[in-house]
């Protein structure tokens, strides 16, 4: 058990250590890498089980830190990709960059992502969800240029929309006591909380229409894009969705499926018309995440989960390859190093790893992607033939943009610069992809030869069409704006917010202020009334009246009290007379 917790705590400790480290010039990257490696090796030591600790306990309310260290493959994936990205960053990052904060953020991200992936309590999940979002925000804006800062802000704000909905959904679930995701009873939650949580998933996993932040997030360093914005963090939404699978009802499933399907096609379409390699990969990520969401929505969550893992590998690898291209472009002194038209291939190894990884993306055999994609296809055909049309449509679409990009990267001439350390992670990931296929083809072989043959045909056709398409050049400005969503989020939303704020001010001035004034007026009026009442009724009538009565009776009573002895005697004799009269009468 202690080892289980150590996996989580090691990256956190490293992150804190790096932030608080007294020396500025220190191989922070090496420290991060070694810690991550240690955590990675620890995954073979742990005994799978759940990890529990009490965080908050107040009366009946109990907030346990619940972690499930069961899915070691996912944990290894996260730690492994983190490690590779850290290794990659050692060479990719310029020496002038702030290594301390970069690597501490990476380590912190590893911790947060691991917590997110293993926590089985929704509130704890939300905490890590937010931590991951915070790390993403910090890393997107790592360059501290204006564009990257505004991109980070955009990512943060769009994610916040989802976060708020997510939190509301969680709290609504909490009222029904469904916070622990380890043993959920099927269909016991309402539709609304699940939809709200799904909004959070939409934001975090960049589904339509909240995906533009992911393309903006490409302003961050390429390794960060590889780690956070393709492989792991964006998959967090899908992970949460997977947890809640038992709760899904038909309405929610339909919403999820259509959102995923639309995102799948939209991402593919947008990827076709871009020349920026990172944007293309971002759209591809959006598209593939849509595929996962679609799979989960239709009930093929096992294959969706499988695709999440394979996608993490090949998309991270693709990003790292793209990073090599970009790095090469930067060194060669290109004005626009992200543009695929200017790419030149520095090394043959890179070409092959790109081929393998993009093959995995389209789902060619001998790659891990083949396993997951065919599995999804098969499951979708089983569960819902109509919704599988989305997938069928996406297969040539994916092949189209992959073919188009590959034309620029692979078909072009190859320079033979020496093997750079930057290449190693990508190579390793392509190797993993192939190994996975080889290892799993016997046990997890996809069934249904007809669909495999058709899909493979579609893929080949798409690839060739992509090669043709690459020769046509587009004006990419209309596509550059994410179908106008950028304009919506960057211009219209602020305008809307401003208008809303103005309306709020107007309401405040015209209605609230007047109400307040009216209330104040009423209060003053009432105060006058009460003061009048106080003066006229209480003071004059009651107090003054009683005083007057007392004074009056006093004046009457004091008449016999003259102070003269004979005066008293007079009254005494008068009373004697009265007694005499009384005695006579009786």
């Amino acid at each position: 058990m202690e080892v289980n917790g150590l996996i989580l705590l090691l990256p956190l400790a490293a992150s804190i250590l790096m932030v608080t480290f007294p020396v500025n010039r220190f191989p922070f990257g090496g420290l991060a890498l070694s810690v991550t490696l240690a955590a990675f090796l620890l995954t073979w030591v742990v005994d799978p089980g759940s990890l529990q600790a009490n965080w908050l306990q107040s009366g009946n309310f109990n907030l346990p830190l619940l972690f499930s260290i069961h899915d070691l493959r996912l944990i290894r994936l996260i730690i492994g990709i983190s490690g590779l990205v850290q290794f990659y960053s050692l060479f990719y990052l310029s020496s002038s960059a702030n290594h301390r904060s970069y690597f501490s953020l990476l380590c912190f991200f590893t911790f947060a992502m691991l917590g997110l992936a293993t926590s089985t309590h929704l509130l704890v999940t939300f905490v890590f969800w937010e931590l991951v979002g915070y790390t993403s925000y910090r890393l997107i804006g790592f360059d501290t240029t204006t564009s990257s800062t505004s991109a980070a802000l955009k990512a943060l704000l769009i994610n916040k929309v989802g976060d708020v909905c997510f939190l509301i959904g969680i709290l609504m679930l909490a009222s029904t006591g469904l916070l622990s995701t380890s043993n959920l009873a099927p269909g016991s939650a309402g539709t609304l909380p699940l939809l709200l949580i799904f909004v959070g998933v939409v934001a975090k996993s960049a589904q339509a229409p909240l995906f533009p932040w992911l393309t903006a997030a490409m302003a961050g360093p390429t390794p960060v894009s590889a780690l956070l914005h393709s492989a792991t963090m964006v998959a967090a939404g899908v992970l949460v969705l997977l947890r809640l699978v038992p709760l899904l009802n038909d309405t929610v499933s339909t919403v999820i499926s259509f959102t995923g399907g639309v995102t799948l096609l939209l991402g593919g379409l947008l990827a076709i018309f871009s020349y920026d390699i990172k944007r293309i990969l971002a759209y591809s990520t959006i598209s593939q995440l849509g595929l996962m969401v679609l799979a989960i929505g239709t009930g093929a969550h096992a294959s969706g989960y499988l695709h999440l893992q394979t996608h993490a590998i090949f998309k991270a690898g693709l990003f790292l390859c793209a990073g090599v291209f970009i790095h090469h472009g930067v060194i060669s002194g290109h004005a626009n190093p992200n543009d695929i038209r200017h790419f030149s291939n520095p090394n043959g190894w890179l070409k092959w790893s790109w081929v393998i990884l993009s093959g995995s993306l389209v789902g060619l055999p001998l790659t891990a992607g083949f396993l997951s994609k065919e599995a999804i296809l098969h499951d979708m055909m089983t569960f819902s033939a109509s919704l599988s049309l989305f997938v069928w449509a996406s297969i040539p679409l994916t092949a189209l943009y992959v073919g188009r990009v590959s034309y620029f990267l692979v078909v072009k001439k190859t320079e033979s610069s020496p093997l750079h350390a930057l290449l190693l992670p990508a190579l390793l990931l392509s190797l993993v992809s192939v190994t996975w296929f080889v290892a799993a083809i016997t046990t997890e072989a996809p069934t249904g030869w007809v669909s495999i043959i058709i899909s493979q045909t579609l893929v080949i056709a798409g690839l060739f069409a992509g090669f043709r398409l690459a020769r046509i050049s587009f004006a990419e400005k209309s596509w550059h704006t994410n179908l106008g969503l950028d304009g919506l989020y960057d211009k219209k939303m602020p305008q809307l917010a401003t208008a809303w704020g103005r309306a709020g001010i107007a309401v405040d001035r015209q209605i609230i202020d007047r109400l307040v004034h009216a209330w104040a007026y009423i209060t003053v009026l009432f105060a006058h009334l009460t003061s009048w009442f106080d003066r006229a009724i209480v003071d004059l009538t009651l107090v003054g009246g009683s005083a007057w009565v007392v004074r009056f009776t006093g004046q009457i009573v004091r008449v016999p009290m003259s102070g003269k002895v004979q005066g008293y005697l007079l009254w005494a004799l008068f009373s004697l007379f009265l007694f005499l009269v009384l005695w006579l009468l009786l």
Binding site: R558, M561, Q566, Y568, L569, L573
Partner: protein
Amino acid sequence: MSPVLLYLSFLLFALGVLVVLTKRDAIVVLLGIELILSAAILNAIHFNQQFPDRMDGQLFALFIIVIAVCEAVVGMSIIIRVYRYYHTAVPDQINELNER
């Protein structure tokens, strides 16, 4: 027996009351008190005539005289004392009991 003795005692009493009330001199007030006491003595003796074999009324009259003596003596001494303090025997001017 005519009620003349009763009327006499009533008259003495009423006159005594009148003197006590109206005279603005303590000594005269004392005289009025003597008149009232005399009325009482007269009544005591008068009522004793109903019971010829007893002498209670007469002896009561005797004791009333003794009381009257005491009263007169003490009253007189007080008057003299007051006169020394206030230089007046007019009860109105000795208004210690009045509210200030």
